[in-house]
């Protein structure tokens, strides 16, 4: 039996996407549009799954309650735009084009681009195992990128949009400046190209990692315990990263899905507090503005930082830090 995702994507491709491409005279993109349709369907399913898992957690185990949740609505917009539209387009079409062209050019010059399956032929025909191995490698790449984005002042000027949210929920994972996303995509895509990820696995890897990252942003009093919490990033672990004391250059808990890299490089903070979230150096627009206003504010902060006119805070201790309000409005 055909995979239901394939069935839905095939229907969309046959009855919606391809007829539109034909009308527009864009049939040369017909083949790639099929891939986009499939990953858009996966993206929509992922949003639904994320909603089904995280909504009950946030309802019954909230860290904080807010009378006005309008700032969360902007994050919902980010998520749908990213996961159903832009992400499938960039991760499939962009990555596919880049990989096929680059690898073929290298092959022409006698350089056969490496893949895990070539290094370990046993993996050929075992897509689940190769998928998980690639996921680990890419998660490590994400750890490095995330750490650098906090270290470089100009990059953090963009990344502060993500940290500015004081009402952090599972929708907050995608609230990023477009330039920050672009940098992240180039980094992630380059690493994926270098290690030979299959173009049909790449968008799925992104979606899987993003699903777990959404969970880690949930406004839920959820810890995975002393053992499992060291295998997978929990909402509590990642919340520490979003504490006001962890915004900016001195931060902790950079890991997206696996806490292993933080443990390995000494940046893990497993303290038990559920801190408040936000970035005191970010403008109110970055915290609670609409989508376009936030994008504009992000650019302004970048320009100001490049000019040296920033309000970069003094280094703070890790986690919530002294004087940082723990988010204990709800009882555990």
């Amino acid at each position: 039996m055909t995979d239901p995702f394939d069935t839905v994507a095939g229907y969309l491709q046959e009855h919606v996407v391809v007829p539109i491409l034909w009308q527009l005279g864009w049939m040369k993109w017909e083949d790639l549009a099929g891939g986009w349709a499939l990953f858009a369907v996966y993206g929509a399913a992922q949003v639904a799954l994320m909603f089904a898992i995280c909504m009950p957690l946030e309802k019954f185990l909230p860290v904080e309650r807010w009378p006005d949740r309008s700032a969360v609505l902007t994050d919902v917009f980010y998520t749908v735009l990213q996961r159903v539209g832009l992400l499938p387009l960039v991760t499939f079409v962009g990555f596919y084009e880049a990989q096929t062209t680059l690898n073929a050019v290298l092959t022409d010059h006698g350089i056969v681009p490496p893949t895990l399956e070539m290094l370990f032929p046993w993996l050929l025909g075992r897509p689940v195992i190769s998928f998980l191995l690639y996921a680990c490698l890419l998660d490590f790449a994400e750890y490095v990128r995330h750490r650098v984005s906090h270290k470089l002042r100009w990059w953090y000027a963009l990344h502060s949009l993500h940290h500015a949210q004081r009402q952090m929920t599972f929708w907050s994972d995608d609230r990023n400046h477009l330039l920050d996303d672009l940098l992240g995509a180039v980094w992630f895509g380059t690493i994926a190209l270098a290690i030979g990820v299959s173009p049909m696995q790449f968008p799925l890897l992104v979606l899987l990692l993003r699903l777990l990252e959404s969970l880690s942003h949930a406004n839920a009093r959820l810890d995975f315990g002393p053992v499992f919490g060291r295998l997978l990033v929990s909402p509590r672990f990642h919340r520490t990263h979003h504490g006001p004391g962890a915004a900016g250059r001195r931060s902790c808990n950079f890991g997206a899905v696996l806490p292993w890299w933080d443990m390995l490089f000494g940046t893990a903070d497993f303290s038990a507090d559920y801190t408040a979230t936000g970035d005191v150096t970010a403008s109110e627009t970055l915290a609670s503005g609409g989508y376009l206003a936030q994008q504009g504010a992000g650019v302004r902060r970048l320009v100001n930082d490049i000019r040296g006119d920033s309000r970069q805070p003094a280094p703070r201790p890790r986690g919530g830090g002294p004087g940082v309000r723990p988010a204990n409005m709800e009882s555990p």
Binding site: E14, G34, Y96, N103, S198
Partner: protein
């Protein structure tokens, strides 16, 4: 002239069963990195061959010992035993999208859709492929056809709405002409080239001397690929967007019948029992069409099935009519 280094890697026992009672059909699942092996008698999948990344097209070697599969993103040509589906060897070749042997069996033309190049190889069943000419092309070279005497190869350029002619002896571009929106499949028929136009609703009849379009024949939206029937009387045209297959009288080029074929019909092969095997790109299946009744059955395969090959006793079906 550059000789491509062969990497002849013995197969690693990827297909468990090596003795099939019935001849096999090979279906290339472009987006799930595999080749489905289908029992031609029962129409049931009996095995699957994993490939590295993205197989698109398949062709039989002139001596019949191998079928060659192009894995585009994997940058490999796989040589398979047509009786068992076993991978006998692999050869590193950049971006092998469409691949077709010349009528005289001495050359193999491979289009590099992503690389915008056309490679013409000399083929030897012992050493494999040796690069003979590399010809830069405009955007997205996809399908090919040869002149009956193998002196020229014609390549559709999907991204630039053109068809180019290359002299196989010298690698020189003879002409490069606009033929219509998003050209795909090409066929030489009775001194003319027939070109499927994906962005239009039919095929162009092109003069092989200069690439000028002599006339258009309406078949259906998204005309994609063209195939001669085994009895040489008909030409079948898959219309991807319309979801139909048009049948043309080969002599008059008049449409004599249309079949409704859902799921994005792409390539066609003809089984000895008269059944047409058709890959369905959108529906992830192979459809078995009875041309007499127009009825069909289908079987699920992998994602986005594209190239197709049936291991029948007949030689590779005709690709050019003088």
């Amino acid at each position: 002239m550059k000789t491509v280094r062969l990497s002849l890697v013995l197969a690693m026992g990827l297909v468990p069963a090596l003795g099939f009672a019935q001849p096999l059909g090979f279906v290339l699942n472009s987006d799930s990195a595999s080749i489905s092996l289908i029992d031609m008698a029962t129409h049931r999948p009996v095995g699957e061959v994993p490939v590295l990344r993205q197989p698109h097209h398949i062709t039989r070697a002139p001596d019949g010992r191998f079928v060659l599969v192009g894995d585009t993103v994997g940058n490999q040509i796989l040589y398979l035993d047509p009786r068992t589906g076993r991978v006998v060897r692999r050869q590193t070749i950049s971006d092998p999208y469409q691949l077709m042997f010349s009528p005289d069996g001495r050359l193999l033309t491979i289009t590099g859709l992503a690389r915008n190049q056309v490679d013409i190889y000399r083929y030897d069943d012992r050493t494999g492929l040796t690069l003979w000419h590399r010809v830069p092309a405009r955007s997205m070279p996809s399908h090919t056809a040869y002149a009956p005497d193998s002196s020229a190869v014609y390549v559709s350029l999907q991204g630039s709405n053109r068809l180019m002619a290359i002299a196989t002896g010298t690698g020189a571009v003879l002409w490069d002409a606009r033929v219509g929106e998003t050209p795909a499949g090409v066929l030489w028929n009775d001194g003319a080239l027939l070109v499927g136009l994906m962005g239009q609703d039919g095929i162009a009849v092109v003069d092989p001397a200069d690439g000028q379009v002599r006339r258009m024949i309406k078949t259906g939206r998204g005309a994609h690929n063209l195939f001669f029937s085994p009895d040489d009387r008909l030409i079948y045209v898959t219309n991807r967007v319309a979801g139909t297959i048009s049948v043309l009288d080969r002599a008059t080029l008049r449409v004599v019948r249309d079949y409704r074929v859902p799921g994005g019909p792409d390539d066609i092969e003809f089984a000895p029992d008269g059944t047409l095997w058709i890959t369905q790109r959108f529906d992830h299946g192979v459809l078995f069409l009875d041309p007499e009744t127009g009825r069909f059955s289908r079987v699920d395969v992998g994602r986005s099935p594209h190239g197709l090959f049936l291991n029948t006793d007949q030689t590779t079906h005709r690709t050019a009519f003088p």
